[in-house]
Structures are given as C-alpha cells and as structure tokens.
Amino acid sequence: MPDPEATAEPIVCARNLTRIYPLGAGTVTGVAGLNLDIARGEFVVLKGPSGSGKSTLLALLAALDTPSAGELTVAGRRLSGRPPGDLTRFRREAVGMVFQSFNLLPTLNVIENICLPALLAGRDEREARRRAEELLERLGLSGRARHPADRLSGGEMQRVAIARAVINHPALVLADEPTGNLDSRNGSAVIELLARLNREDRITVLLATHSDLADGVATRRLTLRDGALVSPPCGD
C-alpha cells in the first residue's frame, strides 16, 4: 500500500532499465528491461534471491554504475549519459548509501566518518560537525563521536553508516542488505532507525534485503527475479 502522504511526482523513474555485464565470451544480465516508479516519501523493500539483480539496481540508482540501455531519472535528474562530474554531484546531493558491510573508513573516527560526505561536497566543516553531532544524538551515539570506527559493535557501525548516508539531506537512501551482518536485535534497531528517518525527515528509502524485518514498516514490497520485477511496480 503506498504511503498516503507520498507525493505524486516519483523520485525514481526507470523505463526499460537494462544492465548487461560482459563475462568471458558471453554476458550476464543484471537488470533486464525494468520499469519502476518510486514516489517521494515511500519506504520500499526490495526482495529477491541472491543474483536476482538487487545490488545492480541499487548501484544504477546510486549512479555507481551506468545502464546498458533504458532511461533512469532519480530525484529529478536524468542519469543516463551524464558526465562523471554530474554523477558525483548527484551522489553528494541526492542519495545516501548504506552497505551490508558498513564500509566505514577505518582511518577515520566516528564523527569524521559521518562528516566525510559533507566535506567531500565542500560544505563548511563546522556546519557539518554540528549536523553530525545532531545525528549522533538522535542515533544514541553521542558518546562515541571520537571513537575509532573499527572499535564499534556491528549495530553501532551500521548506525554510524546511516548517519553518514543522511548528513547531506539526501532525498533517497539506498540500503543494500543493511541487516545482513547484524543479529536480529540490532537488525530491528537499524530498520527502526531507517523507518524513523523516513517518517520524520521524509527521506525515501529503498532497502534491498533477504530478511523479513522490514516488512512491517515498508510502504511497498517489490520482488526481483532474474533482473526483472515479479510483483507489480506500482501498488501492492
């Protein structure tokens, strides 16, 4: 069921989106002619077996990969055929990413990890720190600001990763198996956190997962198989 508060203008609009990888003499299809609309403010759960194309779709939406064919518009920006500089700006301003393995930089402490996207985007450092401290407070990690990132527990690391994903006020958060390396208690806490950000900050969330932990908070559930959606792209 779509969120009643979601606006009509889609934040993700994919038409005939295709990604084919060369593999040896042949090819592998990651995403095959996918059509998808996601409205602003939605919390979409993307499911599917391993190799179904979930990560490929997320990489395309995050402009980390380029489609082989089709059209893709995210947060009002057409991503196909854009120069690298535009894609970097898009990643800075429009999306935040959360990974299964947290991907915190071990060389930085907690607050530095969170501030990194803001600094890379050329934002004011003091402003970035203030925002990071706010986020830490909200995430219950204010005492951990100067801890080395590799000294945190898995649940804490993922919360820091979420804070990093939202520091630049993105419209869309893409989360790739964010609970995959966590126990069920920490997994639930992470899902609850993403749901809070979705509710309170009106951030659209697209969460790829195998688990059922997010089923209760999702506004829509999609299933991907062999690179194509098997459930209707709109409505549930």
């Binding site: 990489a59 990969d65 690298p84 970097t88 990643r91 930089l105 071990p106 890379l120």
Partner: protein, 862 residues
C-alpha cells in the same frame, strides 16, 4: 618426501597462483631484485676479471722462483750474480728487467718489454716459440746471439702489423731502435702476461736499449732441494745492505692488497641496489601476509601448522630472489661490458696496470651472487613470514585489524631505530680489521636500518602534524591521505625505507664525490702547479725510473729564459706490502709558485724548513698506512743511500692510492747522492702578456733540440687530464646510484599500487558517498607525497650523516685519505626535486589502479 610434495602443491596453489594473479606487482619486485643482483654480479665479475688478469700476469711473470733479490729504488748491479754462482743453497738463478716500449709513431699503445737471459731463464718461466722444432730453435738462438732481436706474441704482432722475420722500430725513453722479429710466442706462460701485449728480448739488448748497462731489475733464485729456512735467512744476511731477498709473489700480493679496498668499496656500493631490492621483497611479502590474513586464518583453521605458513612465505621470498637472479643474468651481461672497461681503467689509473682481454664467468663469483641474492631475499621475507606464522585461526572470524597493534609497532620500531643509531655511533670509531673498515660498514648498515625503522614514526608524526593545516589548504583529499598514511605507516614504511636508503646514498655520494673533487681541484691547482711539464719519453708508463739524459738537464735551463724550473726525481719504493713514492723536488723554487695542501703543521714556519732540507713531508695516505706522523723519522734505502730524515709535516696528496714522501732535491744531492732528474716543470717567472705564445715557443725550442726524446704536457692540459680521470673514476659510482634510485622508485610504485588495490573498497566507498574521481586521484597523490617527503627528508638527513662517515671514516680506513667536507648545494638542489618528481610519478600506476574496476563491481565483491 611426501611432505615435501604436499608442501610444493600447497605452495603452487596458494602462493604461485596468487603471484600469477597479481603479475604486475610480482614482476615489479622481480625486476627490482634483478637490477640489484645484476649490479652486484657485474661489479664483482668486472673487478674479479681485473684482479684475475693482474694475478695471472704476475704469476706467469714470477714463474717458479723460490725467492727474488731486488734493490729498493734502484737497479741491481750484475756483479751481484757472482754471489750465487757457487752458493750452496742456490741451484739456479736468472735475471729479469722490464720496461714499456711502443712502436714508433703517433698514438701507439705501449707494451711490456721483458729482458731475460734465454739460457738462464729456461728453468724459471714457461714460454715457447711457435713453429716446427728447428725453426723454433733457430729463433731462440737468434734471440740469444743477435742484438736487437725480439719475440712477440701473435696478437701483438698482428696489432703492430708485423710477422716473424719482419722488422719494427721501437721507442723507449732513451732512444728508438729497430728490431727484427725472430719468432712468435705460443699463447701460454709468459706470453699471457698483460693480456698478451708483451715482447721478449735478450737482457743484453734490453740494457743496450734502455741504457741500464750492468744493471737488472731483479735476480730470481731457485734453491737446492732440502734447503732450510735458516739457510735462506743466512743468504739474506750475506747480501749487501741495500739489497733485499723477497718472495716472488710479493708484487702480486702488494698489488692485490691495493685493489682490495677499491674492490670492497665497489662491492659494498653495488650491494646497495640489492639492499634496496631487499626492501621490495620485504614490502611485497609483508603486504601479501597482511592482505591475505583472513586466508591464512582459514588455512590455520583447516589444520595448517604455523611453520607451514612460515615456509610458504619464506619460499615466496626465495622465489622472488631466484627469479630476480635469473633475470639479472641477461641484464648483467649488458652492464658488465661497460663496468669491465670502467673498472679496469680505474684500477690501471689508481693502482696497478691491468689489461683484461676476456671476461671469465667465474663459477665462484656466480655462486656468490646467487647466494647473496637468495640470502638477501630470504632475510627480507623472514619477518613477514614470522608474522604469518602468528596468525590465529580465530582471525578468520574477525572484521578488521586492531588499530592498537599498528601504534605499538610504530613505537617499537622507533625504539629499535634509536638502538641502531646508538650502535652505529659505537661501531664507527672502531679501528679497521685487517685494513677493512668493518666497524664503518656495519655502522652504515645500522644507519640505514635505523632510518628505515624510524620511518613509520616519522610518517605518523608528519601525517598527524600536517593533517589539520593540509586539510584547510588542500581539502578532504589531503586529510584522507594523511589518515591513510597514519594507518598504513608500518606497512608503507618499508618502501619509504628503500627510498631513504637510495636518497641517502645519493646525497652522501654527491657530497663525497664533490668534496673529493673540490679538494683534488685545490690540490691540482696548488701542488700540480706549473706551466709546462717535461719528462723523459714514456716517463709516466715507466714510473719515471729512467732519468733525463745529462746533456738535456744541462741545456734545458738555457732554452727556458724567463722560466723558473722545478726539477724532480721520483722513486717507487715499498714498505712491507705498502707501495709509495719518494720524490725529491726543487722546493725553494716550488714554494715561489705553488704549495702543498697542508694537513698538519704551520705552513708559514714549515716552508723554509722544508726548503732548507731539514726533513721530509709525507702524504696523508703514507701517514695513515705506516702510522708515521710528524716528529717520527722516515727511513728508506734509495739506490745506494740510506735516507734517514725527520717528518716535518703531513700534506694531502691524491696522485696515487699509494703514499708519497717529498724532500728537497738540492739537499738530497748534498746529503746522499745525485738523484738526477726524472722530470722538470716550468713556471713563468713573471706572468707574460701572451702565455700561450710563450709556451708554444718553449715547446718548439725543446722539440727542435731533442726531437721526441721528451714527453711534454702543458700545465693546464695536465690538470684537466687529472680531473678527467677523476670524473671517469666516479662514472661507475653514478651508474650504480641511478640504478639504486630506480629500484627505490619501483618500490614506491609497487607499494602504492598494492595499497590502492587493497583499499579499493575504501576508495569506492568514498566515491559512493560523494567523492569525485579527481578527489580520489588527489588523495593517492597526497599519500605518495607524504611517503616521498619522509623518504626524501629522512634520506637527506641520513645522507648528510653518511657523507661524514664516508669521508672521515670509511675513506680514511680504506684508502688512507680524507677530503675537505664541501656540500654540493647546486647538484642537490637540482637533483632532489627531480627525485621527488620521479618518486611522485611512481604513484601514477597506483592512480590508474584505483579505477581499474567499476565501483559497483567492487562494492559487490565486498
């Protein structure tokens, strides 16, 4: 056996496949080792070939005599032979004299002329004449009975374009004479002396040509069977006071002793490239251990014993060393051709005349180079292999390497570094062991190790110190690079250590060579002063043993109106194994135009005393080698006189590697005997309006009077030649240095590339959270800048310390000389930024490697 096969299977699957998968870095390290091994092997082969050529010559020439009789600084009177005719201890005796001659004509190369008694010599030296029995006997008889007949080796005859039966005119100091070639020598025994550039004449012809009537260089003796040492000692006592009984190998031993220090220093310098290569092996094996920690933990969890992991990585080091050595052979075969010529030329210039005709691939030298290369690689792999051994099976479950461990390593490395530097200070002042500055070499090694160990600490300090400032100036890339450098300080330190070593060597040798050159320039300007130098023809090659004819000595001053003349006479002498020269020269006139480079004593007070013949001056090398200092007495037998004089001062002199003793020519004549003149230098009494014209006039007058009986060289020409020889001598050093720097740059390239590939998930995370490709490239370049800044900064500091050690300790202990410490700021200022740029350029492969795979693919792998 089964265990061994299992190990090799595991090695092939675990290590070889990994090496093949990461072919680029494996090839870079193998190339680094290959360059190091090629330099080490070719330098050793080149020096070995020169020494082998010299000792072979000396052995063939020495023959099978039991003892030789010589007269230091002079000729042996032939009457001495009478002592041995009936001596109960002596069975056979023979006379030998040698000199250098050349074919008449411009630009011909001198060759060695050996004068022997063909009858007496048969039992001493082996030499055979080519051809059928009768023809050879005829030639031998002709040599014996006909004056001005000569035997030549076939290659020399070809070079001189003459055949058996033909004639040729040979020039010598005293005269030019026409010889008939009576036969050619078979290529064996005496014919192999000096690479076959040798001719044999009867001793009577020799004396006739050289004017050394009634005198020979030495008498060789063979003793009767069963002669006792006491009988030999008794024979020595029976000889007149000015004669010496020595062993035939003394000249060879003294020659090889002189070359030894040069060989050792060149070997140590050539080892530097291999030492830098050792850092590369350490770097790659350590990076592999770190990057494959989880795989190691899995292997351990599956039952692999710790020593299996240790052997796997040790075998990896051995494989890198072995492949490097194999690749070194073709590289070395090219390099050795250049080095052979350069090394033999330097040995000929500085020590003893050598002529290398062919390069023998000595199995012993090849074995040494293989053992050193393999040993170096094994030592380099030892510590990382031990680290692999300590991986716990539990780590298979861990996510990250704890930060604490890194910090502890950097601190303990810094402590170890201080220990190395302290030990260096203790070892440095130790006296040489058997003429080898062992303490000095060990101190140099510890200095390098100390600075290499200090590099993690320096990297951490630099990165944390500059982090804030650089972040403000250069933004997030510099900040992230600083953090990455701090994190990886211990691991990157190895490549930084390689760069420190190469830069230190570069700096130290630039300073040393410059200091040496500037000192030599000053010495040349002051001591090798003069506007025209005149010696007897071929005086240099014959070591000035043939004085100028009396009529020339009398006439020369008449021709040289307007010039001051400084006459001199040089004698090659020997003290034990140490060869030196005694030079009597016209001190009063010399001090009007030139000076010595005084090392001890007050020049103002000493010049009049030296001119008045109160005592001798000794060179720094003489003082260092003999232990004699100012105030001691110098004693030597020169021709018929026993010279006994006080040493008044020590001066710097760089004429040869041997020492030199100076005394007043006039007072030598007054106190002892007429030393005659072996050369004379002319000084303009007053600076003329047209110096070139005046010199040309003097040259023309001398040539008109005595034709080509004299060798003439202008003062400026001679000084330029001395400096040219100096530069040629150090050309080898420059080549070795550049190779060491290239190997260090390879180290930087390999380390950065491996680090980038290893952290590709981090770089792509940065990209995913908003970093741009230019920011990531800038970050890698900033990382390189940190490594290179520490490498170059610490290398520079290490280099300055090393230069002091080289000049004040290693050179003094190896060669006996020191120089005035002068820093070549211009060369350093020009080359260090170039090294910096080259090392930064070495980061480019790493920058390219960062974007080898699409970010999405790397994130999926993660």
């Amino acid at each position: 056996m089964r265990r061994l096969i299992s190990f090799f299977r595991l090695f092939a699957a675990f290590s070889l496949r990994h090496a093949a998968r990461h072919g680029g870095r494996t090839v870079a390290v193998v190339l680094g080792i290959a360059l190091g091994a090629a330099v080490f092997t070719s330098v050793r082969l080149a020096v070995h070939a020169s020494i082998a050529s010299f000792t072979r010559s000396m052995d063939f020439f020495a023959g099978n005599a039991d003892r030789v009789v010589v007269r230091p600084g002079g000729l042996l009177p032939e009457e001495t032979l009478a002592l041995f005719y009936t001596h109960p201890a002596v069975r056979d005796y023979s006379v030998v004299s040698t000199t250098y001659v050349r074919r008449q004509g411009e630009g011909t190369e001198p060759f060695l002329l050996i004068g022997i008694d063909p009858l007496l010599d048969r039992t001493f030296r082996s030499w055979r004449i080519e051809g059928e029995g009768t023809k050879a006997i005829e030639a031998w008889l002709d040599l014996l009975r006909e004056p001005y007949t000569i035997l030549l080796t076939a290659p020399l005859a070809r070079e001189l374009e003459v055949d058996a039966g033909g004639g040729l005119a040979l020039e010598h100091t005293r005269r030019t004479a026409r010889f008939r070639v009576v036969g050619l020598l078979e290529p064996s025994g005496l014919a192999l002396v000096e690479g076959g550039r040798v001719g044999i004449v009867d001793i009577a012809t020799f004396q006739e040509l050289t004017g050394l009537h009634g005198g020979v260089d030495r008498i060789d003796l063979k003793f009767r069977r069963g002669v006792t040492p006491s009988e030999i000692e008794a024979l020595a006592r029976e000889l007149p006071e000015d004669l010496q009984l020595g062993t035939p190998s003394a000249a060879r031993e003294s020659g090889t002793a002189m070359i030894r220090a040069y060989q050792l220093n060149l070997s140590v310098l050539s080892f530097a490239s291999l030492f830098v290569g050792m850092f590369l092996v350490y770097s790659l094996v350590a990076l592999n251990v770190a990057a494959r920690r989880r795989e190691l933990a899995v292997l351990r969890a599956l039952g692999a014993a710790p020593h299996t992991l240790f052997r796997l990585f040790l075998a990896e080091g051995a494989l890198l060393g072995g492949l490097g050595w194999i690749l070194a052979l073709p590289i070395g075969s090219v390099l050795v051709r250049y080095l052979l010529e350069a090394v033999s030329r330097t040995i000929t210039t500085l020590f003893v005349r050598v002529r290398v005709e062919e390069l023998v691939l000595s199995p012993a030298e090849l074995s040494v180079s293989f053992a050193v290369t393999l040993g170096t690689s094994l030592i380099a792999a030892w510590q990382p292999a031990r680290e692999a051994m300590r991986v716990s099976p539990r780590e298979a479950m861990d996510m990250m390497t704890p930060e604490e461990r890194r910090r502890k390593s950097a601190r303990s490395a810094a402590l170890l570094a201080l220990g190395c530097l302290a030990a260096c200070a203790v070892l440095l002042p130790l006296p040489p062991a058997g003429g080898v500055p062992l303490g000095g070499y060990l101190a140099v090694l510890l200095l390098f190790l100390g600075f290499a160990l200090l590099s993690p600490f320096l990297l951490e300090r630099l990165a944390s110190g500059l982090e804030g400032r650089l972040s403000r100036i250069a933004g997030p890339p510099a900040f992230l690079a600083g953090r990455a450098v701090r994190q990886g300080a211990v691991r990157t330190a190895v490549s930084v250590g390689a760069l420190i070593t190469a830069v230190a060597l570069f700096t130290a040798l630039v300073i040393m060579v410059y200091s040496f050159r500037r000192t030599v320039e000053t010495w040349v300007r002051q001591t090798v002063s003069g506007d025209l130098f005149v010696t007897a023809k071929m005086g240099q090659v014959n070591r000035f043993r043939f004085p100028l004819p009396e009529e020339i000595v009398t006439e020369l001053p008449r021709l040289a109106a307007g010039f001051d003349l400084v006459e001199s006479r040089r004698w090659p002498l020997q003290r034990g194994d140490f060869p030196y020269e005694f030079e009597a020269m016209g001190m009063e006139t010399f001090f009007r135009h030139g000076d010595f480079l005084w090392l001890e004593g007050d020049p103002e007070a000493l010049r009049p005393r030296i001119a008045a013949g109160e005592g001798v001056l000794v060179s720094e090398v003489f003082a260092a080698r003999t232990g004699q200092r100012t105030g001691d007495r110098f004693q030597a037998q020169i021709e018929g006189s026993l010279v006994d004089l006080p040493i008044l001062a020590v001066v710097r002199d760089y004429r040869t590697d041997g020492g030199i003793v100076f005394y007043s020519h006039r007072h030598f004549r007054e106190r002892y005997h007429d030393p005659r003149w072996s050369g004379v230098r002319f000084f303009f009494r007053e600076p003329p309006a047209d110096p070139e014209g005046e010199l040309a006039r003097l040259r023309r007058a001398i040539v008109a009077a005595w034709g080509d009986r004299l060798d003439l060289i202008g003062g400026r020409e001679l000084r330029e030649a001395v400096l040219r020889i100096f530069d040629e001598t150090f050309a080898v050093t420059t080549v070795l240095l550049l190779i060491a720097l290239a190997v260090a740059a390879l180290g930087i390239a390999t380390t950065l590339t491996v680090l980038v590939l290893e952290r590709s998930w981090q770089l792509n995370t940065i990209l995913a959270v908003g970093g741009s490709p230019p920011q990531i490239r800038a970050m890698i370049l900033w990382e390189a800048a940190f490594l290179v800044a520490v490498g170059e900064g610490a290398g520079l500091a290490c280099g300055f310390l090393l230069s002091g050690m080289l000049i004040q300790v290693i050179n003094r202990q190896s060669f006996g000389w020191t120089f005035l410490y002068t820093v070549d700021w211009a060369s350093l200022g020009l080359s260090l930024p170039l090294i910096l740029a080259a090392a930064l350029a070495a980061a480019l492969p790493a920058v390219r490697a960062a974007f080898r795979l699409p970010p999405a693919a790397l994130l999926r792998q993660r």
